[in-house]
Amino acid sequence: MPKLKLPRKSTHIDMTAMCDVAFLLLSFFMLATKFKPDEPVVVVTPSSISKTILPDNDIMLITVDTKGRVFFSIDNKNMRKSLIEDMNTYKNLGLNDAEKYKFAIGASIGVPFKQLKSYLDADETQRAEFDKNAVGVPTDTSVNMESNELAAWIRTARNNNPKLRVCIKADGGATYPSVQRIITTLAGWKIFKFNLITNLKATPAGTAAFEAEKATAKAE
């Protein structure tokens, strides 16, 4: 039998094109997205048809998890710094500069004032561990109660920056009373307008909101 000789082909593939694609995608993701904010707990928000987008700055975020624990945070690093300064003098927390700095660069706070110092002293991994078992910021029904520490946070934060918009990000499974306590606390400080963070869901067809959307879409 005659030997069939196949021409040897190189198995090398030119990777240049693939490289181009990879970096194109990379640059897209770098530009189009932003980093996920640090969150102490996982919260699954309920859905609504609201399309309003959360503004970028001046946000006071109150997170409530399934167990009803409350976490408090504001977005701006400089504001966090002045907030903790004020809080330190207001509640005599006795924090040093290093702890204040840790607060300024940190994420949500979910500890009572008594534990705040030791919480800020701890390093990152210890804090993450702590957050798992944290009790959350104590809340109550009246702003005048000493036990309502959330009220103190809100008051100090609002004094620092009156433009702060209050956002509540609560888990769908949280009980209503845990959210109600926050709402009454806000009402105690005369905040009657606030935002609830929700996921987007499609407007059901045939309803009033659906018709209104269609009408605006036609007008445009």
Binding site: M18, C19, T33, F35, T52, L200, A209
Partner: protein, 195 residues
Amino acid sequence: MAEIDTSGGGGHKKGGVKKAKKLSTRVDLTPMVDLGFLLITFFIFTTTMSKPKTMEINMPFKDPSQPIPESKVKESTALTILLSKDHRVYYYEGIGSDATKPPKVEVTYFKNPGGIRDVIINKKKSVDALVRSGTLTAKDKTTVLIKPDENSTYEDFVNIIDEMSINGIDVYAIVDISPVDKDFIHLTEAANGAK
């Protein structure tokens, strides 16, 4: 593409210096591709694409130093919704102010069709009919009172507010549940044989 043609260097003298070995300038780009995709994966996992959506909510103005104004809600325009455990929704027509005539409390769920949405739509229609017939003036609008019970979840609360915007109910209020309303729930539960 990436390789540079190094052939045809020309200029070599015949039989003179030994020819230098031609080195390929082709670079293996595989590691670079690997790196690129690794970074893409990193960015996909650590970043968010969309900004969170929010829903604005206005609570009724409340001042402890001022007396609570008398409610001006008309019985015929009002619908009271009570949120209870296991995502149950109780509702009745009116505001239940007349203690001698307890309203007929019904139970439903957040489902579609046949859920609370249909109840709201029907209520809206009946109020519209009353406005057309002249019993109510055009100023009267369907008013929904939302009273979440202690054992309802935040999800129910958001869902019901969402139903308001879905059905175009402009006037609604979130009110604390009263003992009377709790009794309504218990009575209905007992009547339906629920636990």
